[in-house]
């Protein structure tokens, strides 16, 4: 079964380029449980189906479920009992791969339950950017996507991982992710969901060692009927480890729980989180749950959380400049969602800007 023109359009909406016009360091594409593409363009990296990687390298087995325990919950148990489908992506030591690797998990069969296991290894002193888009064919009504993704970030290595979700209104999604950052490692995790899903539940957790930095950004727009239970956490386990969690949530009738967890357990560790929510309608809700845990006297953890509606005063001010109410509202929503994501390739930032623009226009519909 090949991908149709409409399928390709759906893939493009989550950052996947099939034309070859946008530079990519490699591609991994999965339709249901069939791997359609697994290729690298940059010699500094390796992209393999996880099943192949497990056969090729005996040490990969030690990484599988090394960060996300297979017994964690029913979803991870299902992944562990299923033949591995997903990718193994590795940046070789010292490789600076500036173009992003694109990956996509596509559900083409209605009521399909997609089960994915990914492992990413960023070897010491290397740099890697990954865009993962998850979406369904336009006609899909129901389905589920369960994914385990484990990130191993070596000493002085950098990984940016941008996950873009564009699900159907009755799809349930359960990503389970965790990252381990060795000394001076950097992990930037961006999560973007600007369309409806029945339920998305994700809570990636990073363990950060000496002088490492973990940054989590999430941008969520929840239309009516959607539920997002989204969070991020970081455990700062060695001196000088840092973390930042920023979430922007807009409810246009949907339910959002925005979680955040920071734990400082060593000298000079620092963590900060910002959970900002904007309610456009009375039907929706945003529940910010920021948690801080200090286990050491020289840790510095903080959070800011704010949930509210757009101030009438701001809308009226923009209206005095000739903008109608809908345009004024969408301008403010766009500004609210427009988190400058650090460390992204410019093209990806442009793609995200376009998606935010579209979501903000929908905010007044």
């Amino acid at each position: 079964m090949k991908l149709s023109k409409s399928d390709i359009q759906k893939l493009q909406r989550v950052g996947y380029d099939s034309t070859g016009d946008i530079p990519r360091a490699g591609t991994f594409l999965t339709k249901d449980h069939e791997i359609l593409s697994s290729e690298r363009k940059d010699a500094g990296l390796e992209i393999l189906p996880l099943k192949v990687a497990l056969e090729k390298y005996s040490w990969v087995e030690n990484l599988a479920f090394g960060l996300v325990p297979d017994e964690k919950d029913n979803y991870t148990k299902q992944i562990a009992s299923h033949p591995p489908v997903g990718y193994f992506i590795r940046a070789f030591p010292g490789a600076k791969i500036t173009q992003p690797v694109q990956s996509c998990f596509f559900i083409k069969t209605d009521r399909f339950s997609q089960m994915i296991h990914n492992i990413i290894v960023v070897e010491p002193n290397s740099e890697l950017h990954i865009i993962t888009g998850c979406t369904t064919a336009a006609y899909i009504k129901q389905g589920s996507h369960i994914g385990v993704t484990e990130f191993y970030i070596g000493e002085n290595a950098k990984l940016s991982y941008t996950m873009i979700h564009d699900w159907a209104p009755q799809v349930q999604v359960f990503p389970r992710s965790a990252a381990l950052l060795e000394a001076s490692g950097t992990f930037i995790s961006n999560y973007i969901a600007l369309t409806a899903a029945e339920l998305v539940q994700a809570y990636p957790m990073a363990t950060v060692k000496k002088n490492g930095i973990a940054r989590f950004n999430s941008i969520i727009y929840a239309p009516q009927g959607s539920h997002f239970d989204i969070g991020a956490g970081a455990k700062l386990v060695e001196p000088e480890a840092k973390a930042e969690i920023i979430s922007r949530a807009v409810s246009s009738g949907g339910q959002i729980i925005a979680r955040g967890y920071l734990e400082g357990s060593a000298a000079n560790t620092r963590g900060h989180m910002e959970c900002n929510g904007l309610l456009l309608r009375d039907e929706g809700s945003i529940h910010a749950v920021p948690e801080l845990k200090g286990n050491f006297s020289q840790t510095d953890l903080s959070h800011e959380a704010a949930v509210g509606k757009i101030a009438d005063e701001e809308i009226h001010y923009l209206m005095t400049r000739g903008l109608d109410e809908d345009t004024a509202t969408s301008l403010i929503v766009r500004g609210f969602l427009d988190v400058r994501l650090k460390g992204l390739p410019p093209q990806l930032q442009k793609d995200i800007d376009v998606m935010i623009e579209k979501a903000s226009l929908k905010s007044t519909m």
Binding site: A311, D312, E313, E314, H316, Y317, L318, M319, T320, R321, G322, L323, D324, E325, T327, A328, L331, I332, R334, G335, F336, L337, D338
Partner: protein, 244 residues
């Protein structure tokens, strides 16, 4: 006689359940600049807010006509489109919306925006959130910059000199005079202005044609603005109302 641009008849306005304006009458002809003097709390800001159509200023009686047509029930943005501009005394900060993005929405031409922003020393502020962290002078310059690009037929200025240093007053006065077409002859001038002030300082820089005193929500007198200002300075607002 000049054509009336704005005609206000017996305007009564409430904020919440409190009446602020108690029957204001005012006519502004094309090409003229009116100045309204009044102490704090006299209803000056309410008057310009009601003309602009801001919803917190509820018109309970009377009518506002602009270019001969009633605008009393028109929403804010339609009044702006018709040619009414308001430079706020204390505009809100709008988080996440850059000044540049708003200016693009007002007037698409990037070259115009850059040229005018440069002339008002605001080029470095274009990509900052509107009014967020701006100083008093920067806020006023930003308001006048927006007005310059909107180029309204009726320019309303709410306390344009408050919180602004001398240098900035000179700068914004020059742009205000440009918007009001002060450089062309009075017979050909079409732009009108309504300036709100409690100090009167601004009319040293922008020549006004007609002055009014507002007290407790009523216009008590009208006349030569310099003469009125002289009396206010000499006798104060209360005394000024008595003698008039």
């Amino acid at each position: 006689m000049n054509t009336p641009l704005l005609e206000i008849e017996n305007l009564k306005v409430e904020i919440g359940n409190k009446r602020i304006l108690h029957g204001v009458n005012l006519t502004i002809e094309e090409g003229t600049v009116h100045v309204i003097f009044g102490p704090n709390g006299s209803g000056k800001t309410t008057l310009v807010g009601a003309i602009m159509g801001l919803p917190q200023y509820r018109v309970t009686d009377g009518d506002i006509k602009f270019k001969g047509k009633s605008i009393t029930s028109l929403p804010v943005h339609k009044r702006a489109k018709l040619g009414i501009g308001l430079a706020f005394q204390r505009p809100p900060a709008v988080k996440g919306v850059s000044l540049f993005y708003l200016l693009k929405a007002i007037k698409g031409s990037e070259n115009d925006i850059l040229a005018v922003a440069d002339s008002m020393n605001l080029k470095d502020h274009l990509h900052r959130d509107i009014n967020k962290g701006f100083s008093g002078g920067e806020i006023k310059r930003s308001e006048i910059l927006q007005m310059r690009l909107m180029n309204p037929a009726l320019l309303m200025l709410d306390e344009p000199e408050s919180g602004v240093d001398f240098e900035n007053i000179l700068l914004i006065s020059e742009i205000i005079k440009e918007i009001l077409e002060k450089e062309i002859s009075i017979t050909k001038r079409k732009k009108s202005g309504l300036v709100i002030t409690h100090t009167g300082f601004i009319i040293q820089h922008i020549q006004a044609d007609v002055g009014h005193v507002i007290l407790d929500g009523k216009i008590l007198c009208s006349g030569n603005p310099q003469e009125i200002l002289g009396r206010i300075k000499k006798y104060g607002f209360e005394k000024c109302a008595e003698c008039l």
